[in-house]
Amino acid sequence: MSGSDHNPAGEAIGAKAFVPSRRAVLVMGAAAASTVVTIRPALAQTAGSIINCEIPVPGPHAGGNFIAPDGNLVAPGTPGAAAPLSRPLRGEEVRSLLRSGSTPAGVDPQSAQAYANYIRRLQSGMSGFTCYASLQMPR
């Protein structure tokens, strides 16, 4: 959301016809700024209370594949890619990994980033997605 806290023409919204009472200055924002935030369904805050979930990295459909730093699956043994995790990550581990980058026990920080990016790329239908969705903060 852009930092424009002041909306000089705000009072006009909802009026039947648009009649500005005075000439106001409109801040158009930079081309790259964002002025629309859509409210998305949220489970994140309740995740700990409603689900004990795990995310396999990678999922069973890609067993054996390595994970590149950007989170993509690559052939086993690819240089610079992280080996598959031998155990699934618990929900709380994923939450702190995604939020603060803190590394799950027994995982080196560089691989952890690859795993985090893999998890961020999970989509509906993939193993671990609902767990991720329930932990995820709004985009």
Partner: protein, 288 residues
Amino acid sequence: MKHRLSIQIGPVAFRIGSAWAQPLDALARLYAAYPEPEDGICDFTVRLEAEKPWRRYFRPSVAIRGDYILPDAAPLSLAHGLLAAEMGMNLQMALGQKRYLLLHAATVEKNGRALIMTGESGAGKSTLAALLGERGWRLMGDEFALLDMDSGMLLPFPRAVSLKNGAIAVMEAQVAPGRFGPRLEGTPKGDIRHMRPNRNALSRMGEGAMPALILFPRFGAAQAVRSVGAAEIFMRLTQASTNYVSLGRRGFDSLTRLIANNPALAIDYPDTDSAIGLVDDFWRELAA
């Protein structure tokens, strides 16, 4: 199912079925003072069942299922069956509750007006609400606040308080042992002990209250109070609500009304005593 139990918590009735006796025995003891649903009808069904048929006996693991389920849920060990039952009820509320706007928030009431405390888990709202509930406030709920979209009133949902780690000892020092469930060690959320709200909270579980103040508490930092802008409150409350989006215009109308009618403050607190002091101060000012 082989073992079954029905419980009424505030306006919501659950029936819980289980493949094992242990989780329901523990649940029945913890919820001993709660009414059964008067009409025998339940809003939600929770099932605790073996993940695979042979896992009923061999390394038993409890899968949490029911009317509404999330895939990817990992089972809990049978020793944590009570937690599984609690999570199962929470899950039904989070995914299936459409009668009320549901906020992930703790609520307490005094003189007919309710205080809403919300924040991410770990912010301490649950402990704070439990403590206030023993100090002259009525505990309406430590986990979910139910906002009636027609009246704007908050309805109690006084399930057993879920105390985690350090909060367990804090409450054990103040509350009679008979109100606690078993201490569950090494759960995915750490150590957990459930605590039944007091008699006042249970006997008045049918009695709602109009909200008066919204607090965003945060435990751990030096004491500080700041006001929160209305747009930020809106954003935070939509993220604290599991059903806002699915309620459509009624959700929008009731949430914007809640924000228009109630002041909101963010408080940082280093210890629970200072938080309780702050809350009592705010309340006096509001009443004045």
